[in-house]
Structure formats: structure tokens, C-alpha cells
Subunit: 280 residues, 2 copies
């Protein structure tokens, strides 16, 4: 099995590490836009060779796209235009609707499997790649009925090799859930960082007080803007809905504090505590 | 050294564990409002005896108050009215200004040391007490010039025993920093939980997608409303300021998405990324 990874950063690099150590493939080629990252991926042993996109497509049995979602659509079309019938392509992007809509009429559509492994860290680039990033996490496969069954089977086998549990969803349903749960979490964290950086002029105080819950809540604000700006753009519709609810609730919370409505404030938090029951 | 802990939950219980194992004291008595929690604290070996507040005050060399901050003021006044000249009292509350203002003219004011160990988890009650909760974290001591030097020394020695680094601040300055960094983090997390619970009706989806950053960002929303409602109430002034900045930034972020201003969105996030430099 030959694998090509287009975009060898945190996600692509971490997948390469575990696919190699599990013996899933004998050969991993890498394609990247940045010469520096390509050299680093090679130096770190994430990939066997850096090749051109065209060569990667010619050689690989399985092509994995791990580029930012704005670039992903063009890359996917480029690949679908060129692949042979035995080849399979999948992606690991955080949005699915726009991608699937863009390629839905392509004659090679069925060789593509849309997937989103729900795994990551706040770091990016090949140096951030780690073993076991995907283990025991959930991967969502979208619109599998529009992919060939052998293509789906290969991609499922790859994710099982990475240790993931698989869930199946319609692409737009996926985007809604991602907006309502994961993407709003990133936004609340980015806004928290921006707020603290503006209000708190004493950097030493930030460092000293970070242990009081700030450090973990703000972690996602370290995430890559190049990765997240296109995700937010593509998932605009659902994001605006959930952001409006968030703003409304934040404003309500503010007013409960302002009007000294301590009992209602307590009730708001007791209701929020319900998240405990779902998460554990 | 005899220690009395008034309020034997997560904070008081964790302090008791480490003070005992380090040999800081030979005797720890506990005082609590809930009979169930008192029995549990005894059963877990957090305290040697459960006693009345009056007996705790008579017997202890050092009295540690770890009750919610709304109750704390009355409890502190009750203690200051009764302690002998050799006794010292401290507290571990998350606000300091209102407490210090309330006792500033008390004749025994100098036997009180105001402190805030910046440590905790999202859990509460004696069963949540853990070893090493305070280790390598920061403790802030406020207005130390208004406490007797021997009282400050005893409290400093206790926090060093718990493994904490000490910082010194004016009480109102403390409350400002706490609002701008720690308290706003808790609020953003409570609002995130409330938003996700309202928008996302599919509980299974929440569980499955929690790995995409939601779980860590929402962790603080599991915190105790009984502890946090009075903190937010006491720290109202600074909190309203920082919440208004937060709401304004969230609204700006929303509009950048709405108007497809992807470059400005990217810049907003790149600026937020600056938090990386401060935290590491």
C-alpha cells in the first residue's frame, strides 16, 4: 500500500507516524507548499520522499488531503481529474458541506470519501506531529452512500488503524454539529484571549493567574489562523446561529450580575452544570 | 501546631491532606455546615475531628476559612471577635476587596492574612479533595502590611508547605486581575455550556464531538454555582468591564464572519495567538 499525504503538518504528519508504525503502508510520499515544512517532514521521518503533486497522484493507492479547507476544494478537484479507477482519495478537513457540494457531479466522485477525524492540538506544522493523536477519538465519515464501497472500506481500515471510532453522517448535518460544538469552542477561546490581551496590561499577572482556569480555557486560541479562518468562512451559516445564541446568553449573564440577581445567576450555572452528565 | 479548617470541601480538604502529610500540624479540626460533608471529611481522614465553630476557634493556632465568599465575611467577623492574640486566621477565597473592606476596622484585623491560592478543579466537596492540588501554583497574599508580621510568616510557611509560589498585591488590584483573567474564563465556559446545551439537541453528538476542543474549553462550566455566584457578585465592577469587552469582541468576530472578511478574521486570530508568548 502506497500512501500520499498532501499537506504534511500536525494532522498529516501524525497520521503518517501511526500508519507507518502500524505497517498500514510501505511507502509514504509527502506534498507541501512550504519548502521548509517539506524538508522538516523528511528530516523527522514523517514521509519517505517529497514529491510533486502529479507524482504523488500517479504513485499512491490512497491519497490523503490534509490542507486547509479553502485550498482543499481545488486540490480535490485537481486530484479527481487525474486519478485512475483503483485509487482512493480522502480528506481530513473540519468542514464537509462546501467540499462535497463542489465535487458532487465529478465523474470520479465515488473514489472520494469525505471524513473528519475529530482530533488535533493547538499546535501546527510537521514538528507538531505526535504519535497516537487519533487514538480513541471519533472520526466522522460523511455521505458514504456516494462513495464506492471499496473506497469506504479502505478509508475505514485506515481510521481503524489509527485507533478511531467511526460515525456516519450527512455532510450538512456534520457541519451543523461541528459549528454547534467544536467551532464555537474555538471562537470562545479566541475571543477570551483577545479580551484578556486587551484588558490585562500586566503580562506577569496573566502568567501568574493562568492557573485559575485561564490556561486550559484559552488553549484553543493558540490554534492556526490559516487553518481556522477558512473553516469559519465555510461554516458561516451554522456559526452565525450559534454565535448569536452565545452572545445573547453572555449578555444575559452580564445583566444578571449587573442587577444583583444572584439566585438567577446560580440557576444559570446550575443549568450549565448539566454538561457534566453528557460528558461523563 | 493545631489547624482548624472551616469549610471542608475541595480546597479545605486538599489543604488538609498536604498539611498533614508534610507534618505541618499535629491536629486538624473541621467545621462544616453540611452534616453529610462533615461525616465524609472524617471518613476520608481529611480531619481528625469535627467540632463546633466555637471549639475550633478556641483550640486552633491557625484557622483557615475555605467557605464561599458570601459567607466568608460573616464567618471572618465571627472569628475575629473571638480569637486570642496568639491566633492567626487566613482565608482562601477568590475575591479579596469586599472581605478586606468589611474587616478593616476590626481591632483584631492584624491577626488576619488575606490570601488566594490560585488552584482548584471543576469539582467540589470533600470527596474532590486531592493531594498536591496547590503544588507549583501561585498564591496571592493581599495587603500584607495590614497584618502582623508573625501572622504573615505563619501563613507564608503554610503555603510554602503546600508547594506554592507567593505573590503580593493590593486587594483591589487582585480583584481586577482575577476578574480580567480567571473569572472571565469561568464565565466564557459557563456560557459555552449553556449555548451548546440549547443549540445542540443531540446529546450523542455532543459526546462524540467533544474531542474537537469542546471538552477542555467547557471544563470550568462544571464548577460549583454556590461557590461562583457570590464571587461574581462581589467582583461585579471589574467583571462588567471585562464582559463588555468580551461581548464587543465576540460581536466583532461574528461580523467578520458574516461579511466574509477572511483576512481580518485571520488577523484577529493571529493577534489572539500572542497569548502563546505569555503562557510559555
Amino acid at each position: 500500500m502506497k500512501v500520499a499525504i498532501i499537506g504534511i503538518g500536525l494532522i498529516g504528519g501524525s497520521a503518517a507516524k501511526d500508519l507507518r508504525s502500524a505497517g498500514f503502508c510501505t511507502d509514504i510520499t509527502g506534498v507541501g507548499r512550504s519548502a521548509k515544512n517539506c524538508a522538516l517532514a523528511l528530516e523527522l521521518g514523517l514521509v519517505d520522499r517529497i514529491v510533486s503533486k502529479e507524482d504523488a497522484i500517479t504513485e499512491a493507492d490512497l491519497i490523503i488531503l490534509t490542507v486547509p479547507v479553502n485550498i482543499l476544494i481545488d486540490e480535490l478537484l485537481f486530484i479527481l481529474d487525474r486519478i485512475s479507477p483503483h485509487q482512493v482519495v480522502t480528506d481530513m478537513g473540519s468542514t464537509k458541506g462546501a467540499i462535497i457540494d463542489a465535487i458532487k457531479d465529478h465523474p470520479n466522485r465515488r473514489q472520494y470519501v469525505a471524513s473528519h477525524p475529530m482530533a488535533g492540538t493547538e499546535n501546527s506544522g510537521p514538528a507538531a506531529a505526535i504519535d497516537g493523536l487519533f487514538r480513541n477519538k471519533v472520526c466522522i465519515i460523511c455521505d458514504k452512500e456516494n462513495s464506492d464501497s471499496n473506497a469506504v472500506e479502505l478509508v475505514e481500515r485506515m481510521y481503524h488503524t489509527l485507533g478511531m471510532r467511526l460515525k456516519y453522517m450527512d455532510a450538512h448535518q456534520h457541519d451543523m454539529h461541528a459549528a454547534y460544538i467544536s467551532h464555537i469552542s474555538h471562537i470562545s477561546s479566541f475571543v477570551l484571549a483577545a479580551t484578556v490581551l486587551e484588558k490585562e496590561k500586566d503580562e506577569e499577572a496573566i502568567l501568574e493567574m493562568a492557573g485559575g482556569g485561564f490556561e486550559s480555557t484559552v488553549r484553543l486560541a493558540k490554534s492556526s489562523p490559516d487553518m481556522w479562518a477558512p473553516i469559519f468562512h465555510q461554516n458561516k451559516q451554522y456559526l452565525l446561529e450559534v454565535m448569536d445564541t452565545y452572545i445573547e446568553k453572555m449578555y444575559h449573564f452580564r445583566n444578571l450580575i449587573n442587577k444583583n440577581k444572584t439566585e438567577e445567576l446560580r440557576q444559570f450555572m446550575a443549568d450549565a452544570n448539566e454538561i457534566r452528565k453528557i460528558l461523563k
